[in-house]
Amino acid sequence: MKLIIREYLASLRERGELDVVLPDLLSQLGLTVFSRPSRGTRQDGVDVAAVGAMDGQEERVFLLSIKPGDLSRRDWNGDSAQALRPSLHEIVDSYIPNRLPPEHRDKHIVICVVLGGDVHETVRPLLSGFIQQNTRQGLSFEEWNGDKLANLIQSSFLREDILPGDARSLFRKSLAMIDEPNISFQNFSELVEKLASSQDTDDRQCVTAMRQIAICLWIMFAWAREAENMESAYLSGERALLHGWHVVRGLGERPPRVREQVAGAFNSIFTAYSHISTEYLTKNVVARANQLHALSAAVAGSSAVDISLRMFEVLGRLSNAGLWAVWRASKEPEGSTERADALIEVGSISALIMSVIENNPALILPIKDDQAIDVSLALTLMAFGSSNHDYMRGWLDEMMGRAAFTLDTNGAYPSVLDRYDLLLRHPQSKDDEYKKNATRASILYPIVALWACLLEAEEIFAGVSTIQSSKLAHSTFQLWFPDASSESHLYKNDQPHGSVLADLSLRTRPEYLETIRRDVVSSMRIEDLSAVRDGWWPIVAVACRHHRVPVPVQLFRGVDVPQDPAAEQIGTPS
């Protein structure tokens, strides 16, 4: 296990990775963290500050200066703003005299040089010399290299008594099988399930479990990045985030300190998830998004089904990344640089999605009805930019054109078939009975019809309406709404939940909108989902994508259709 952790530490490349883990590690060691890493530069050389007793010694102050990877001559005293020697000087000369909280000034101070890897031999004399020169009464230095950190992580998070043998085995398997993402994810998923179930136990175990999930996810991320295969890490990140939220939302009765510590661990999970998502999309999607067929070709699939399944996965993931950017923008104050940056990212991801659709025609028509979930997420994101609306109309128009064409010609029309082997054979037969069975229900057409209403695309609505009346009259057109049971099961998907507005008729646009509006008004408010209520609404989108649950229509935001009151109610941001 130590080797696994050591490998993970050595692979961390950025400050944003190692310093996210350390506060949890210190807390788990019994220290109180009073300064956490923040964006931008360090606080006079200090990345993390904590106070407390370690190894049975007196209470001391630990000031951590973090350097990911090995310490080379360049990292010691180079031009970089992150060079270690200037940082140590800043701690001694500025942080200790000026920023150290007054209540800790009489305590012994330990300046910790935290390295993900090791000190290069050429730098060793320089570091030793610096330490000798600056060590004095009440101030000492410690080197926390990868080996020491690995020991600390193992002893605090993953030791036998707090991470049982079967959980350790699941974790090892999830790492070993990274190139078989489904198996790897299955093991990680079981691990998360096992750890997250500790929420019902005592406060300390609950906090420890969340931190364990976080550190395991970080380790998974590092290993996946090294293996250049982020698939399992992506799915694991989603699963960890959703289980994490499920724990966070149920902490109402716990003491504030526990809630705070669990929230800290959840933030660590979220940061890991964000890193994973970025890494996945950057390495796999961005570079090829603008090249004709490049992403489809990268699937190296044997059939059109492979490409369709993968492309809609990519579409859903890109869309969720965009929705998180929307969320970030909404958190920042008007006029701030951070908000502007986030909005630029929203625009970039929307443009990327359009490019991916343009260059990968498999995305024009789903082969599985539940790929409507990914379509919904993409539309929800693109709807935030009014300049995207024409593109959205064009996409939906072509989608319905192809749907009608495949239904007429017995091509690969969207079906409710779920098993891969059945999809490979689809359509197995031209007879009516088969077609009726394969299209016995749908969320795709009602969702497209709804978006046609929201986008005022009368022709598209008419097209879907014709498909329903002339080809799919037997099909149960439906929309899903969360209900009172959804809050308990949406994040873990451990039971069916929500309610379905079935047998929708697409005869006329006003009638259709009125039917949906009536149900939106009478069903559970989307704000009653804890993720929306507490300001983490993209988690609902993650849950929908990950657990293949339809996106609630209340999330279809960003479209402004003021002249249609019914549409306005559906599209109102929560």
């Binding site: 996945y280 492979d306 990968n360 025609p361 024009i364 192809r402 010609t409 891969y420 490979l424 054979r425």
Partner: protein, 550 residues
């Protein structure tokens, strides 16, 4: 009755004849018990009877009984009627036998009808007028089937100098006047056609008579016309050609026997003076959607080898008619090798005073030949003239997309082979196209793997299982249709590289034979878009096949 293959059949025939003629056995009666269980043994055993029959001393009635039984037991096999020839020989050995036979037949036409023509023919050798009159009489009364046979017999007698064509035709006409039904007309055509075609007699009366029969039509009549065209088409009198071809345009597509005859006729006439008539008939049958070219296997094969195939393909693509274009596609797919020289050739269009719309022809070619990339690209390259830059650019774009983007491997090979013998201008176009293809392939990522996007191993395994099952099913279906596999014994060898067999010699010794095993494989390049954009590809091909001329 079991046939031992090692028995000397000549000795057996001699022994049987001797035993029968000495009344120790009754060969005729024994063979009446021979039944056909579906294997080849029935015909092997019956052959012994056929060899024996001419030398037998037996009652005509019993022989006729056995011959008819063996004939009927042969079913629809092409060899079913071979037993009639030795019967003719049997009758020919005694002048009384034909007389007895015709008397028996007249008494029981239902029992011995199959032998009518044979009896008349053998009887007419010695008593032509008597047997002509027998046939004439039989053609005027009785069941239709008997009258048909009588007409056939009259037709056969027409070639005898003592009877003559004129007299035979008059008798046939009289039979038709008595009952002018479709079956009788068919019999008349079958009887008279060969006479008219092979006797070299320029008989205006005969031609007029036959034309009037043909023009009345009818399913049986058309069947007979198709057979006439197949067997004697080239020799038909000129005045008869047009009516026969015209009538065949009315064929009912359900009548597969007639269609088969038309197929054999058209394929045979493609290299004759009647080629224009044959192609015209083919065209109208295809255009009327009465048949698909795949129903006409011999014609497909003949056209695929035909020197004028390129000109025909160009003409049919230029017509834009879906059925004709589909026929070209089917011929290329079924018979034409990818490397064969299908080229743009507007000879037929020029002859018809039409101008070729090269871009339109190119689009139709892509639409219908798409599954044969080498043939398609070769055809498209031949459309590049270097004289009209807009049309050339449009055709080059067709070569790139959809052809090269779908078939980068065989497409590249096809282009390289087109370069050989092409001009400088074509060479430049090919360089440009290969450059565009290379650019596209490089854009795909240059072979760098993105493991996170790749298909999971479990799905790959499912796909392999799916393909295995599909291929096994296809193999079984193909084996069911194989004419060879039903004839041979099948052995499954689990190990080794050669198969050892012992071949037995006439002297009883055996010789060891080692047959080395070889592999047989076919490689097919699937269009890339069938995975990347199957719906788009399907739609585009349909557009290329159906869009009207601009």
């Amino acid at each position: 009755m079991v046939m031992d293959p090692d028995i000397d059949s000549a000795a057996l025939v001699s022994e049987l004849t001797s035993l029968h003629n000495s009344r120790r056995i009754d060969v005729v009666r024994e063979f009446r018990g021979l039944t056909n269980d579906g294997g080849s043994e029935f015909f092997m055993v019956r052959h012994i009877f056929e060899e024996t029959l001419p030398s037998l001393d037996a009652a005509v009635a019993e022989v006729m009984d056995t011959v008819v039984h063996l004939c009927r037991a042969g079913g629809h096999d092409l060899a079913a009627g071979t037993v009639v020839t030795p019967f003719i020989a049997f009758c020919g050995n005694d002048s009384q036998r034909p007389r007895d036979a015709i008397a028996l037949l007249a008494a029981c036409p239902g029992d011995f009808g199959e032998l009518l023509v044979a009896i008349v023919m053998v009887g007419a050798r010695s008593e032509p007028n008597d047997f002509f009159e027998h046939a004439e009489r039989l053609s005027l009364s009785g069941e239709v089937s008997q009258r048909q046979r009588a007409i056939m017999a009259l037709g056969r007698l027409a070639s005898m100098a003592t009877i003559g064509v004129q007299r035979a035709l008059a008798a046939i006409e009289a039979a038709l006047r008595a009952d002018n039904v479709d079956e009788m007309r068919a019999a008349a055509i079958k009887a008279c056609g060969p006479v008219m075609a092979s006797s070299g007699v320029e008989s205006a009366y005969g031609t007029d008579f036959l034309r009037s029969v043909v023009e009345q039509g009818g399913d049986h009549t058309l069947h007979a016309c198709a057979e006439l065209l197949w067997l004697h088409g080239v020799q038909l009198p000129p005045d008869l050609v047009a009516p026969v071809f015209d009538q065949l345009r009315n064929v009912d597509p359900q009548h597969t026997g007639t269609i088969r005859n038309i197929d054999l006729a058209v394929s045979g006439l493609l290299r004759s003076e009647l080629r224009p008539h044959a192609l015209s008939l083919l065209c109208s049958l295809l255009e009327a959607a009465k048949v698909s070219i795949t129903d006409l296997g011999s014609t497909m094969a003949a056209l695929s080898r035909d020197d004028g195939f390129s000109a025909l393909a160009t003409e049919w693509f230029a017509s834009g008619r879906r059925e004709l274009c589909q026929a070209i596609g089917d011929i290329v797919l079924g018979h034409h090798q990818d490397t064969a020289r299908l080229r743009f050739d507007d000879a037929r269009l020029v002859a018809a005073g039409e101008t070729a719309d090269r871009y339109f022809i190119g689009k139709r070619a892509v639409g219908f030949l798409f599954a044969k990339p080498k043939a398609t690209i070769a055809f498209l390259c031949s459309l590049l003239t270097g004289t009209d830059s807009d049309v050339d650019a449009a055709i080059r774009h067709l070569i790139l997309d959809p052809m090269l983007l779908n078939y980068p491997g065989s497409g590249r090979e096809a282009l390289e082979s087109c370069r050989e013998g092409g001009g400088e201008e074509l060479g430049r176009s090919i360089d440009e196209l290969l450059g565009s293809l290379q650019e596209y392939l490089e854009m795909l990522g240059g072979g760098q793997r993105l493991k996170a996007l790749e298909v999971p191993e479990a799905d790959r395994e499912s796909y392999r299982r799916y393909m295995t099952v599909t291929m096994e099913e296809s193999m079984r279906e193909a084996e069911k249709k194989s004419p060879i596999l039903s004839l041979v014994h099948r052995s499954t060898l689990l190990y080794g590289r050669t198969s050892i067999n012992y071949v037995f010699q006439a002297d009883g010794s055996s010789q060891r034979m080692e047959v080395p095993m070889s592999t047989h494989g076919v490689s097919v390049e699937f269009p890339r878009m069938s995975n990347i954009d199957p719906v788009g590809l399907n739609f585009r091909l349909r557009v290329l096949r159906n869009e009207p001329r601009a």
